[in-house]
Amino acid sequence: MRFTRVLRMSAAVAALGLAAACGGAGANADKPLLDRVKESKKLTIGIKYDQPGLGRRTPDGKFQGFDVDVAKYVAKELGVDESAITFKETPSAQRENMIEKGEVDFIVATYSITDARKKKVSFAGPYFIAGQDLLIRAEDNEITGPDSLNGKKLCSVKGSTPAQKIQKDYSHEAQLQEYGGYSECITQLLNGTVDAVTTDDVILAGYATQNSGKFKLVGKPFTEERYGIGLRKDDKAGRDAINKAIQKMIDEGVWKQALEKNVGPSGYKIPAPPEITEK
């Protein structure tokens, strides 16, 4: 019976899949960060793959951006060699989940410190203070800030708070275009079918660097986003170690160099280093 054999085979494949589904998770996921590092000399760090200037996977399989540089520096301070870092993509909606399950050791991915998130994870840092700003075409002189957007077209990512904030607090008559990702917004801005893209200034600076000369930042941030390094809740020792690494990065000037290299060419004014508050 040729057919029944096919049927049996597919049943076996299905069973295999189910068996794999019930297999075990990471073995030492429950230990604090420092113990894990000491034991394995390895780190799994969550970043973004598609954010120019911050976290981006390049065609040669490497990773580039400010977040990546921070991650590498912290890893070095924890005693982990650059080649022993595994970078993992962390979609925004999955970040808390992945930390809670111990699937990443920590996350450096434009991750704002908020009280809601602090219920589930701990933060070290902040390692950077960003603010919501507007990205406009280089030749645009009409848009000067969030309250000059009435009658203008604004683009942001679906479900994100930045765009709603503008409509609610500043320009009520701004029209809002939402997409799944920023790259669609940037395309529309280039084509002239939206007038501004809004989100954190350093993210926008990344896009301005990428499309050199075509865009500029308005430069009047109107919120404060404190980017932290997210890790396991209540891992105090781990947090202190990361904080120490961030402070050292700032003091040695590596912090500023990294920013200048990754987002400096856009003309973005690099802010003063943040004071570490998550202790």
């Binding site: 909606a93 008559e173 809002l176 669609e184 529309q188 084509n191």
Partner: protein, 225 residues
């Protein structure tokens, strides 16, 4: 459950219904035209019909809809509503989504109608031609009306699939049910099962009666041969 009252559930499903209705009408018309092209005497039209079906049907709907927004509107500059309107983006996105859904769904409508045309006995068309009717008349007066009767069931399937496919419109920011669901999952992460349940029931309520009703119509309309 009272967190549900903070969201405009009915409004979101209403957008879903509107998307479905307009896209259904559009794809029925365009799908019929495509089917006519595929059986027409003009070779170039036949090839166009075939090429169109093969290109569009094999492209993911998400790409078709993002293409309508980034390609057709943003790059080619085709706006579907008054540009100066204060709700331009919202309305334009709605109609771009409808257009994308029509372009995509019409391929399925076309193929259903074509198989419907196949069920009409050749004698019908031959008799029509013997009466001196041309291609347009033969197809429009004699063959298509009969073909439609036998494809109510498959067309109903296409309609149901279309209802569910409207969820893809969220990719260009249309505020329909799936978009709202994403927002709710983001904000109410502890009540995820309730959220899922609400939207699942919503879609079942939309699709099941349509299916049952059209299934009944299909049985009524079927031609005994």
């Amino acid at each position: 459950m009272d967190f549900l009252s903070r969201y405009d559930l009915l409004g979101a499903f209403w957008v879903t219904v509107q998307l479905t209705v307009f896209s259904a009408i559009g794809s029925l018309v365009w799908g019929t035209v495509l089917a006519a092209m595929r059986v027409s005497p003009v070779p170039l039209m036949r090839s166009f019909g075939t090429a169109y079906i093969n290109l569009v049907r094999n492209t993911p709907l998400t790409l078709v809809i993002i293409g309508a927004s980034l390609g057709l509107y943003s790059t080619l500059g085709v706006a579907l509503v008054e540009r100066e309107s204060p709700t331009f983006i919202e309305d334009n996105n709605f109609w771009l989504a409808v257009l994308g859904l029509v372009v995509y769904t019409a391929t399925f409508v076309c193929e259903s109608i074509r198989s419907g045309i196949n069920t009409v006995p050749a004698g019908q068309a031959e008799a029509a031609r013997a009466l001196g009717l041309g291609f347009g008349q033969t197809l429009g007066i004699v063959v298509l009306p009969q073909a439609f009767r036998s494809v109510v069931a498959p067309l109903a399937s296409v309609l149901i699939a279309l209802t569910k496919n409207t969820t893809v419109a969220a990719a260009i920011g249309v505020a329909e049910a799936a978009g709202l669901m994403k927002e709710m999952i983001e904000n109410e992460s502890d009540k995820i099962l309730v959220v899922f349940g609400v939207f699942a029931v919503g879609f079942v309520l939309l699709t099941l009666p349509t299916g049952l009703l059209l299934g009944w119509v299909a049985k009524k309309m079927a031609v005994k041969r």
